[in-house]
C-alpha cells in the first residue's frame, strides 16, 4: 500500500508571528513540520506497516526551498518526498495550494490513500484536503478520528457535531485526520541520520503546469490590517490556600452561583 501524506512546513508557532510587507505570514528561515501533520505521517506509517509493504511519500509546498520540516517526517520513516517550491507561490490562496498539491500528486502517479491534517496551524483555512479530493476526482472522509483499512476499502470514524459517524469508503481516497488520531513517534537517531540521504524532488509550480499561482492566482486581496482591541488583565493573586474563596466570591459577584 502506498500512502501520500500532505505536510506543511510552518514557522515555529512558539515564536511570535509577523507579517511581511504584502501582509502574508513571514516564512523566512527555518520551518518546522506542522504538529498537525505528525498525526498523518504516523497514521500512514502504521497503515503501510499493517499492509505488509509499500511506501509513505510526502508532498509539500513552500515558497523558499525549505526542507527541515520534511526531514522530520522522513526521519519518522517516510521514504521520499516532493517539494513544490517557487517564489511565485507567495500569496497563494487555499484553492491554488490544493491545485499545486494535486498536480504534485499527479506527478507521483497517485497512491492508494492520500492523508492530510484537518487544517494547518499557521493559516488554518481548513479546506485543502476536501479541495484536493475534488480536484483528484476522489471520494473523501474528513475529520477522521479512527481509520482502518480492509483490503480495498477504509472504515473511518468521522467526527461530527453530535458524536461520530462510521463511514465506509473505497480506495483510492483522501482523508483528513484530527489531532490525537494516533500518537506520532519521535524520530530515532538512526531515522534522523537516514533522513539526510532520502530523496526529495524539488519542482516549481511552472514545472507542474499550475499557473497562475501566488497573488496572481488568488481570488482575494487583503484590504485592511488593524490591531484588535486588547483585553486588560485583572487581579492576579498567589494561592495561599484560600485562592478558591476568591473564585467563589467572584462567581457570587457575577450572580452565577
Amino acid at each position: 500500500m502506498n500512502v501520500i501524506v500532505c505536510v506543511k512546513q510552518i514557522p515555529d508557532p512558539a515564536s511570535p508571528g509577523a507579517l511581511s510587507a504584502d501582509n502574508t505570514l513571514k516564512r523566512e528561515g527555518k520551518l518546522i513540520l506542522d504538529e498537525s501533520d505528525g498525526y498523518g505521517v504516523e497514521m500512514a506509517l502504521q497503515l503501510v506497516d499493517g499492509a505488509g509493504g509499500g511506501e509513505v511519500i510526502l508532498v509539500s509546498m513552500a515558497p523558499n526551498g525549505e526542507l527541515s520540516g520534511m526531514r522530520t517526517a522522513l526521519a519518522m520513516g517516510a521514504a521520499r518526498g516532493i517539494l513544490v517550491s517557487d517564489p511565485a507561490l507567495q500569496g497563494s490562496d487555499a484553492l491554488t495550494t490544493a491545485k499545486v498539491l494535486a498536480a504534485a500528486i499527479g506527478k507521483l502517479g497517485g497512491a492508494d490513500l492520500i492523508i492530510a491534517g484537518t487544517e494547518s496551524s499557521d493559516g488554518y483555512t481548513g479546506t485543502v484536503p476536501e479541495q484536493l479530493a475534488e480536484l483528484l476526482g476522489l471520494p473523501s472522509v474528513t475529520f477522521a478520528k479512527r481509520v482502518t483499512v480492509n483490503g480495498q476499502s477504509l472504515t473511518v470514524d468521522r467526527q461530527t457535531e453530535a458524536g461520530y459517524d462510521e463511514v465506509e469508503c473505497p480506495l483510492p481516497a483522501v482523508i483528513s485526520v484530527t489531532a490525537g488520531v494516533v500518537e506520532p513517534r519521535y524520530p530515532s537517531f538512526k531515522g534522523i541520520m537516514a533522513a539526510k540521504s532520502k530523496p526529495v524532488d524539488t519542482v516549481t509550480a511552472t514545472d507542474l503546469g499550475v499557473t497562475p499561482v501566488g497573488w496572481a492566482g488568488a481570488g482575494q486581496k487583503i484590504v485592511g490590517v488593524v490591531q484588535a482591541e486588547a483585553r486588560a488583565a485583572g487581579e492576579v493573586i498567589e494561592d495561599d490556600g484560600e485562592g478558591y474563596a476568591k473564585i467563589v466570591a467572584f462567581l457570587e459577584n457575577l450572580k452565577v452561583i
Binding site: 479546506t127 465506509e168 490591531q227 484588535a228 485562592g243 467572584f250
Partner: protein, 321 residues
C-alpha cells in the same frame, strides 16, 4: 445582493450558527434575497428559516448516507448552473460547512475565506474579517473577480434575531449523479449523549490543560463544570495527548466559545487556545506559572496548583448545595 446561507439542523431546529448567519444575511442583502440551502430534508425547519430571513429554502432531500461535502456541493452547483446563482454563499464554520464549501470552490473555481467574524458589502464587492495571531490582529480581505463568493463564519460572530418572516418556500435541489467522488457511505451514526449544555452554547465553560498532569485528573474539570451547570472543555495539548476527545477542544483548531464565565485550569494560554475563548465575558485562570500568558487576559488569576485549588473549590460549591 442575493445571498445563500448553508443551513444546518440539530434536534429538529436550525442550529444557532445558521440563525446567526441568516440574520446577518438579511442586513447584507438589502433589497436582494436570502435563501437557505439545506443538505437533507427541510420541511421541519422551513418555518424557522423563514422567520429568520430566508424566503426560499433549497433542500437536497435525504442524502442516503452520502457525505454532505460532496453531495450538497454538487446539488448547489446544479442549481447555480441552472441559472439561479447567488452573489455570496455564507457557511457556518462547522465540519459540514467547511466540507461543502471546499468541494464547491473547486467546482466553481472560486477561492474560499474561512474563520471570519464579520462581513461587509460595498456595491458589488464583498469583504470579510478574520482574526489572526490569537485574535490580536484583524485582517479584512476582499474577494476579487466575480461571485458566487464563498465565506465561512465562526459561531457567535453575529447575534441571531428573528426577522418576523413567514415560512419559506421549499424548493427541491436534488443531488446529481456523483460518480467515484460520492463513493463513501455513512453506515452507522453515533450520538454521544451529553447531560450538560453544549460546549459552544454553555453559559459557563471549565477547561483543563496540561497542568492537570494526567488524564485521570480531568475528572476535576467535569465535576466543577457539572456543579456550575456548565460544559467541560480542553486545551489542544490534552486533546493531542488523547485525554479527551477532539470535540472538547477550545481554540483556533477547535471550538470558539463565548460564555459568561470561562475558567481555565492548568492552561498556560497558547495563542492557539486564547483565540477560542478570549471573547468570554469573564475569565478566571488557575495556573502554577505566574508568567503564563493566560493571566494577561484573566479577570481573576490564581497563581497556584490546580490539584490544590480545584478540590477546595469543588468542596465549597458542593457545600452550598
Amino acid at each position: 445582493m442575493n445571498i445563500w446561507v448553508f443551513s444546518q439542523e440539530a434536534n429538529g431546529a436550525p442550529t444557532s450558527a445558521t440563525l446567526e448567519l441568516l440574520t446577518k444575511a438579511r442586513s447584507l442583502a438589502a433589497s436582494g434575497t436570502v435563501s437557505a440551502f439545506v443538505a437533507g430534508e427541510a420541511a421541519g425547519i422551513a418555518a424557522m428559516l423563514g422567520e429568520y430571513g430566508a424566503t426560499k429554502v433549497y433542500a437536497t432531500g435525504d442524502l442516503g448516507g452520502r457525505l454532505p461535502g460532496v453531495a450538497a456541493s454538487a446539488a448547489m452547483k446544479a442549481v447555480i448552473a441552472g441559472g439561479d446563482s447567488p452573489d455570496l454563499i455564507m457557511f457556518p464554520q462547522s465540519y459540514e460547512g467547511r466540507d461543502v464549501m471546499s468541494r464547491l470552490s473547486v467546482q466553481l473555481d472560486r477561492t474560499v475565506l474561512t474563520n471570519n467574524v464579520d462581513a461587509a458589502i460595498d456595491g458589488s464587492s464583498v469583504s470579510v474579517t478574520t482574526p489572526i495571531f490569537g485574535g490580536n490582529v484583524l485582517v479584512t480581505t476582499a474577494f476579487s473577480g466575480s461571485g458566487p463568493f464563498l465565506a465561512a463564519f465562526r459561531p457567535k460572530s453575529f447575534v441571531a434575531e428573528s426577522g418576523g418572516g413567514g415560512a419559506a418556500t421549499v424548493v427541491a435541489a436534488p443531488v446529481p449523479e456523483l460518480g467515484a467522488t460520492g463513493a463513501a457511505r455513512v453506515t452507522v451514526v453515533h450520538t454521544e449523549e451529553s447531560s450538560g449544555p453544549k460546549l459552544d452554547e454553555a453559559a459557563i465553560v471549565v477547561s483543563g490543560g496540561r497542568g492537570l498532569g494526567e488524564a485521570s485528573k480531568y475528572e476535576l474539570i467535569e465535576t466543577l463544570a457539572k456543579l456550575l451547570k456548565g460544559a467541560p472543555g480542553a486545551s489542544r495539548a490534552i486533546v493531542d495527548a488523547g485525554w479527551v476527545p477532539y470535540s472538547y477542544q477550545v481554540g483556533q483548531t477547535g471550538k470558539v466559545v463565548k460564555p459568561g464565565v470561562y475558567i481555565a485550569c492548568g492552561i498556560s494560554g497558547a495563542t492557539q487556545h486564547m483565540v477560542g475563548m478570549k471573547g468570554s465575558k469573564s475569565i478566571i485562570a488557575i495556573n502554577k506559572d505566574k508568567e503564563a500568558p493566560i493571566f494577561g487576559i484573566a479577570d481573576l488569576g490564581i497563581v497556584g496548583d490546580v490539584h490544590k485549588v480545584l478540590p477546595k473549590l469543588i468542596e465549597a460549591l458542593q457545600g452550598r448545595g
